[in-house]
């Protein structure tokens, strides 16, 4: 092994010497590995995430820091072991310089652990939102320019109380992402005097919610529903069939477009549902409108895009943009184990369609959260209106480090 390495090293020095004059002008392209879920439960979201990342590169005409950028893609299926295998292939086999990915929480923790074994490569998150990725045992070369699950719910507790919901029941899927969402909601809600008498944790992909619906106490004012995709639709259908009439408060992926297209009788009762998210379709800042227009131009619905970019597209766009802006800042200089590049990333104030993002000491984003409310437009379509916007949300949710505990089934609690 050593002999072989030495030989390769000697050869490359010889080649570099021979070509040094001509080679300087034409530096090789920088390879960026892009990992998202193109299989499994988040396949549609993963494909949109890739669109977002590609859009960031297209806006720069495929160049950053004066060098050409090549994207090499890989896929996983939201399982951590598959994500690590795909990342390892990109890093060790395809020899990428920078990694962008993965999509989901468990994958993010596993890829962060792997990043420690590759200290000369810079890893930037895709859209994974587990708290532990950057809070517990962070990796010096793993950066996350998106805010995570708990941060996305900041401001929702206050908005819920403003609606007059003083007691709420939580219904959420039983894994890390909903834990952090519930924590983000409850830490604020409980502090301001709200009560959560019951929390129901349901398995991911569960079909039958009758036992949960039977447990809803009569005296709660609202249901906080942190379910994604098909789970949310199933719950809503069954809750309607059971004659439920409590108003809803949604998680970041609960009140998405597929829920708003819901055709059931209770459709109108969705009006007034509030939710917290890092993206709001109806946000009217010029940067965001320009981003949406660019997305729609590059990925029209006829070519498989969504009518409006999804959360995954935005978050992948932000992280890819961070990778490219960082390259611009150092003029494509990745020498010295990418030390300069990382320093630039850590210090950068990233301009995103939803406001400026800075990193904290754990290389985790401090950014903006939107509180949205479902309203009906003139044609009778439902959409998410921006109710309020909270800037500068940090990962500790404004708490002191000693007081902060990572969200779990039992934490926080205010029955």
């Amino acid at each position: 092994m050593n002999g072989r390495k030495a030989l390769v090293g000697a050869l490359s020095i010889a080649v570099a010497g021979a070509l040094s004059g001509a080679a300087f002008a034409q530096q090789p392209p920088i390879k960026i590995g892009l990992l998202a879920t193109l299989e499994g439960p988040f396949a549609a979201g993963g494909a949109d995430g890739m669109r977002g990342a590609e859009l960031a590169l297209k806006q720069k005409n495929g160049m950053a820091g004066g060098r050409q950028i090549v994207i090499i893609k890989a896929s996983s299926d939201a399982k951590p072991d598959v994500a690590v295998n795909a990342t390892r292939k990109l890093v060790e086999q395809d020899k990428v310089d920078i990694m962008v990915g993965p999509l989901s929480g468990g994958e993010g923790i596993a890829v962060k652990e792997y990043s420690k074994t590759q200290p000369t490569i810079t890893f930037i998150n895709g859209s994974s939102g587990a708290q532990a990725t950057t809070l517990v045992d962070p990796s010096p070369n793993f950066f996350r320019f998106n805010t995570e699950g708990a941060q996305w719910m900041v401001g929702l507790g206050k908005a819920t109380l403003a609606k007059g919901y003083k007691r709420a029941m939580v219904i959420a899927e039983d894994y890390a992402f909903p834990y952090s969402q519930v924590q983000g909601f409850m830490s604020e809600y409980c502090r301001l005097g709200g009560k959560v008498p019951v929390k129901a944790w349901v398995p991911l992909g569960g079909k039958d919610y009758s036992s949960v619906i039977a447990r809803i106490p009569k005296d709660v004012d609202a249901l906080v529903v942190v379910l994604g995709g098909a789970d949310a639709v199933n719950f809503l259908n069954q809750y309607e069939a059971a004659g439920g009439d409590k108003p809803l408060v949604g998680g970041s992926i609960t009140v998405s477009q597929d829920i708003l297209n819901y055709k059931g009788k209770r459709r109108d009762s969705l009006v007034g549902t509030i939710a917290g998210a890092p993206i709001a379709d109806a946000y009217d800042a010029p940067e965001f409108k320009a981003f949406v227009a660019d997305y729609q131009k590059n990925y029209p619905v006829s070519a498989g895009g969504y009518p409006s970019p999804s959360l995954f597209a935005l978050v992948y766009y932000i992280n890819m943009k961070a990778a490219l802006d960082g390259l611009d800042a150092v003029n494509g200089d990745l020498s010295g184990g990418q030390a300069k590049y990382r320093e630039a990333l850590a210090k950068m104030t990233l301009k995103t369609p939803v406001g400026d993002v800075k990193l904290d000491g754990n290389r985790q984003a401090i950014g903006t959260t939107f509180i949205t409310e479902v309203v009906k437009d003139a044609q009778g379509n439902l959409f998410n209106k921006v109710l309020s916007k909270v800037d500068g949300v940090d990962q500790l949710l404004g708490m002191k480090k000693e007081d902060f505990k990572i969200g779990s089934r039992d934490e926080p609690s205010c029955p």
């Binding site: 092994m1 072989r4 193109l38 299989e39 494909a47 893609k73 890989a74 896929s75 399982k79 951590p80 072991d81 690590v84 295998n85 390892r88 292939k89 060790e92 086999q93 468990g106 923790i109 596993a110 652990e113 792997y114 074994t117 045992d137 039983d174 894994y175 890390a176 398995p203 991911l204 089934r409």
Partner: protein, 370 residues
């Protein structure tokens, strides 16, 4: 004879048809006058070694010398660890006529126990005992679990065995997913790393490859040995005609349960390696897709010979890693499915079946000319 045993006897033919008949090994006896029995045994062993065995052995031993760390670890070591788990299925299926889909669950039990008794990223649950204590306990518990699965399922035959072992596997998956006090739910255990022994860090690609290779070779030769032992021959007899074996005085159920226990040993060691390879164990590691993947690898490689699982695992791992480079990123699963379909269509005995067909054609051609 009990009703259950009658059912065995009546259905015994089905297993034989499904598995294909294992050709009896040619009794290569080398007669050297004047040699002691020990020497004779040694010489007859030598007569079994052919050029291809030496080439394969040298190749796998030298592989990390010329392969990149990626090829060594992700392709080489992963195939070997996976192959060992699949070997437990082909042993049961090929020699015992019992297709158990719970072999990945048995491997998962070993992985989970390793994480629980050893150290992991969840210090609140893990005991943090030394790796060898944890690994030993994990193997013992996994064998107990595998034996229990066997004890449950030997009462059934054919498709019912598949169903009951699938049910056990899925039940174990849901237990891992929903139990938080022991299995840590959806998150499972992160940072379950291979140990450092005598200054050798087995997390590094090359040491881990040789560890996996050692275990795989051990498993391979152990299976070859067991198949030639009285136990293995009795097991094949039971596969072919349980009723007759019962009449001859063999304890059919006991043999079958023992086969499950032996298969569990292989799966457990494979499970330890696979957990170390991934550095984590989560409910997804024992989910339905993996239960089926093990069967797919077994069919890809072929059930007839203990080398089959390893060949199947190499093809499977190569496809998983490189199919995405061959075709549009949204369609690469089509390549995996297509290759699988082609192999199953053109060679019911898997890849080793293709080898056997080619070899027999060559022999008949040569025979026809002379």
């Amino acid at each position: 004879m009990s009703a259950a045993q009658w059912r065995h006897a009546m259905n015994a033919g089905a297993g034989r048809l499904a598995m294909g008949r294992r050709a009896p090994a040619p009794a290569a006896t080398v007669r050297v006058p004047g040699a002691t029995p020990a020497e004779r045994r040694y010489l007859s062993l030598l007569a079994h070694i052919k050029a291809r065995h030496v080439v394969v052995l040298l190749f796998v031993l030298a592989y990390p010398m010329f392969a990149t760390p990626f090829l060594t670890y992700q392709i080489g070591a992963q195939s070997l660890a996976l192959g060992l788990i699949v070997l437990s299925l082909t042993f049961l299926g090929g020699s015992g006529g019992m297709i158990s889909l719970a072999q990945m669950s048995v491997a998962g039990v070993a992985g989970y126990m390793l994480a629980i008794f050893g150290s992991s990223g969840e210090p609140a649950i893990s005991f943090g005992w030394p790796w060898w204590v944890a690994a030993t306990i994990a193997v013992v518990i996994a064998i107990a679990a595998g034996t229990a699965v066997g004890w449950l399922s030997v009462r059934t035959e054919g498709i019912y065995t598949i169903m009951i072992t699938l049910a056990v596997g899925v039940a174990f998956y849901h237990l891992c997913l929903q139990n938080y006090s022991i299995f840590n739910g959806f998150q499972g255990f992160q940072r379950v790393y291979a140990p450092t022994i005598l200054g050798i860090n087995f997390r590094d690609p090359m040491p881990f490859y040789y560890l996996a290779l050692g275990c795989a070779l051990g498993g391979y030769f152990l299976v070859k040995y067991v198949l030639r032992s009285p136990f293995g021959i009795a097991l094949e007899g039971i596969r072919n005609n349980a009723r007759r074996m019962n009449a001859l005085g063999f304890a059919v159920t006991a043999h079958r349960v023992a086969a499950y226990a032996f298969a569990a040993l292989l799966a457990a060691i494979g499970g330890l390696l696979f957990t170390w390879y991934n550095g984590l164990i989560t409910p997804n590691s024992v989910g339905t897709s993996w239960l089926i993947n093990v069967l797919i690898i077994a069919i890809l490689g072929g059930l007839r010979h203990p080398i089959g699982p390893f060949i199947g695992a190499i093809v499977f791992v190569l496809l998983q890693n490189f199919a995405i480079d061959l075709i549009d990123r949204e369609r690469f699963n089509l390549v995996i499915g297509g290759v699988f379909l082609a192999i199953v269509l053109f060679s019911p005995d898997g890849l080793i079946g293709i080898w056997a067909t080619v070899k027999s054609k060559l022999i008949t051609q040569r025979g026809g000319k002379s």
